[in-house]
């Protein structure tokens, strides 16, 4: 080891050489650039949506926006048709995913032994990784004939209910993982206090853990709704894609997302009558605003859980 004469050491020799500091500054600004890029992306998304959507909003005859059916190539842009379609699919999806997802979450967080958990959690993550086109095909060729057509004769193979169940399956892992996180962040002291009072496991889970984690559970629900509204491929493949207004989930229909995909895939270019092209952006903007609001609200709820524990 070389010894350093303390008397010869000055502040300058601790400062590091200029080359290293220059490199440090360069690296820092590169990383800052990478982080700032996300803001540029957001700005580009909003810009590209609004530019064409404004043309639609200023030029469209508003009677055609509240007419009968979504047929952009014929100049009929009935927003309520696709909005109701999205709503039906979302409600069905939540009816499927909320009980199964939250039930799985409570089981994993409160009941499953660590070894069982270690096996089950990765399986849930595998389910989360299945691409939505696959669930679309599954909804069309399995869920529809095996579940829906069997119980309701004369239903077409492609219908909103099948798509809704498909979207529901897609959101089960999402709900399960957010809910489980919320319940596991409830401190054990609360559970022990409950057991100490002589409460049973079911009482502890239902009356102590779930109320303590309720913000997280609500957040899970909202994120899942946002995801279900934004889901495109399952609906595009399994819902039938006719723009006739319907409130009956057993009939084929259209959602906001599927309307966009259908329009874009109709010809290899997004092109058509007068405002057909711009209507795509208008629906996109609507979808963006709805999901953004839902995500912001969900974020609030998640934060509340984090702050409390």
């Amino acid at each position: 080891m070389t010894t350093v004469e303390l008397s010869s050491l000055s502040v300058a020799s601790l400062r590091g050489d200029r080359g290293r500091l220059r490199k440090e500054r360069l690296v820092r600004s590169l990383f800052l650039g990478a982080a700032t890029l996300s803001i540029v992306i957001s700005a580009l998304i909003v810009f590209s949506l609004i530019r064409e959507a404004m043309t639609f909003i200023t030029e469209v005859e508003w009677a055609t926006v509240w007419s009968s059916g979504w047929f952009p190539r014929r100049g009929l842009y009935d927003v309520k048709t696709i909005f109701v379609g999205s709503l039906l699919v979302t409600v069905i999806a939540m009816a499927v995913a909320a009980p199964i997802g939250m039930g799985s979450a409570i089981y994993l967080s409160e009941y499953a032994r660590p070894r069982v958990r270690k096996v089950l959690k990765p399986i849930l993550e595998v389910l989360a990784g299945i691409p939505s086109v696959v669930l679309g095909f599954f909804a069309l060729t399995f869920v529809s004939p095996e579940l829906i057509q069997r119980f309701s004769e004369g239903t077409t193979q492609a219908n909103l209910a099948a798509a809704g169940i498909g979207v529901g399956i897609l959101t089960i892992p999402l709900i399960a993982s957010i809910s489980e996180d919320a319940m596991r962040s409830v401190p054990d002291a609360l559970r022990e206090a409950s057991y100490g009072m002589g409460a049973r496991k079911v009482t502890t889970s239902v009356k102590v853990v779930i109320p303590a984690a309720v913000s997280g559970l609500v957040a899970a629900g909202i994120v899942a709704v946002s995801r279900a509204i934004g889901e495109t491929m399952v609906v595009f493949i399994a819902a039938g894609g006719t723009g006739v207004f319907t409130t009956d989930p057993l009939r084929p229909g259209l959602t906001m997302t599927a309307a966009m995909a259908a329009q874009a895939s109709g010809t290899d270019q997004v092109r058509g009558q007068a405002l057909t092209f711009q209507s795509l952006f208008f629906v996109g903007l609507l979808l963006f605003v709805i999901t953004l609001c839902l995500n912001l609200v969900a974020d609030r709820f998640v934060r509340r859980v984090r702050q409390r524990y």
């Binding site: 820092r28 982080a35 089981y107 691409p131 696959v134 795509l280 999901t291």
Partner: protein, 313 residues
């Protein structure tokens, strides 16, 4: 002091407690609740098993009789001659763009947010912005890709080409890469950083030699999961203009291939799923098996890797 001594329980309370503890009455509500929860988890597993068996049996005839042809054949009008080669190539290009663009930018942004960023309003804005970007529906990213990369920058991308698709999907998974990498970096104990600073390293030297190696398994898991997500995504590609007819030949040099019309595995699946013909249903199932094999291989690999390293620490 006698005030603080617990009062002796009334004899009937003690009796009630004793009866309660020794009666051995079945916990009906508990059993019912537990079985409902068990049913939920069994249903989840059943769905996964049914889904995988359904596509494997559906695609089995194609996969077992002509797997080689199916992988190397091009899209055709007749089901017997159709293959997924063009879809595989398109997905490969998309995967490369994601690896080259989203991974370094995403990890860089995560390093900035966790290691460099001051606690300022600007940092908070970036943070919130990234979380919101992660929640934007994929079809909206398709609009971004169409308006910016296909139309506005068509001189660079050449229109609806693998370039436009790759860049769009890289942007789509960027927030996921940032969020998962930031989590992995946050989990690195401060003592490791302090050891580096203690011997006079600059921040970047600490990050490169101490933080990144420690966080590598977590970062790798997040990036692989996001790659799998990009390979399975179809909605943005439809908006950008992926096609299933009149494709490029993918025969020429790579620079030319990147300027051609393209398709990708999820797009091929979507197009085939729309045909009622039973032969094409079998083809769809076979293509799904191929896509699932790739995506699930990536996913399980990443998850196993993370679990292994988590256990070690």
């Amino acid at each position: 002091m006698s005030v603080l001594a617990p009062a002796a329980p009334a004899p009937q309370t003690a009796d009630a407690v004793r009866r309660r503890l020794t009666s051995g009455r079945a916990d009906v509500a508990g059993v019912v609740f537990r079985s409902i929860l068990g049913l939920a988890i069994v249903l989840t597993l059943a769905i996964l098993i049914v889904l995988i068996t359904d596509v494997v049996t559906g695609g089995w005839t194609v996969l077992s009789s002509r797997l080689g042809d199916f992988l190397t054949g091009e899209l055709a009008l007749s089901a017997e001659r159709s293959g997924v080669y063009q879809g595989l190539i398109g997905s490969l290009y998309i995967g490369i763009f994601v690896v080259v663009l989203a991974f370094p930018i995403g990890i860089g942004a995560a390093i900035y947010l966790e290691e460099y960023a001051p606690k300022s309003r600007f940092t908070r804005v970036i943070d919130i912005n990234i979380r919101n970007l992660a929640g934007v529906p994929s079809v909206v990213y398709g609009i971004l890709g169409f308006a910016i990369f296909v139309k506005s920058l068509s001189s660079l991308s050449g229109g609806a080409t693998p370039i436009a698709a790759g860049v769009t999907l890289a942007i789509l998974v960027l927030p996921i890469v940032i969020i998962t990498s930031a989590e992995a970096i946050r989990a690195v104990p401060d003592s490791i950083r302090e050891a580096g600073f203690g011997v006079g390293a600059t921040r970047w030297e600490v990050v490169r030699s101490h933080v990144l190696p420690y966080a590598a398994p977590g970062i790798l898991t997040g990036t692989v999961l996001s790659l799998a997500r990009a390979l399975g995504e179809a909605a943005p590609l439809i908006l950008i203009g992926a096609v299933t007819g009149r494709l490029g030949t993918f025969g020429g040099p790579v620079t030319e291939q990147l300027q051609e019309k393209f398709t990708a595995m999820p797009i091929v699946i979507t197009a085939w799923a729309g045909r009622p013909n039973a032969d094409f249903q079998a083809l769809t199932a076979a293509a799904i098996v191929i896509l699932l094999a790739v995506v699930l291989l990536f996913n399980t690999g990443a998850i196993l890797l993370r679990n292994r390293y988590e256990r070690r620490r």
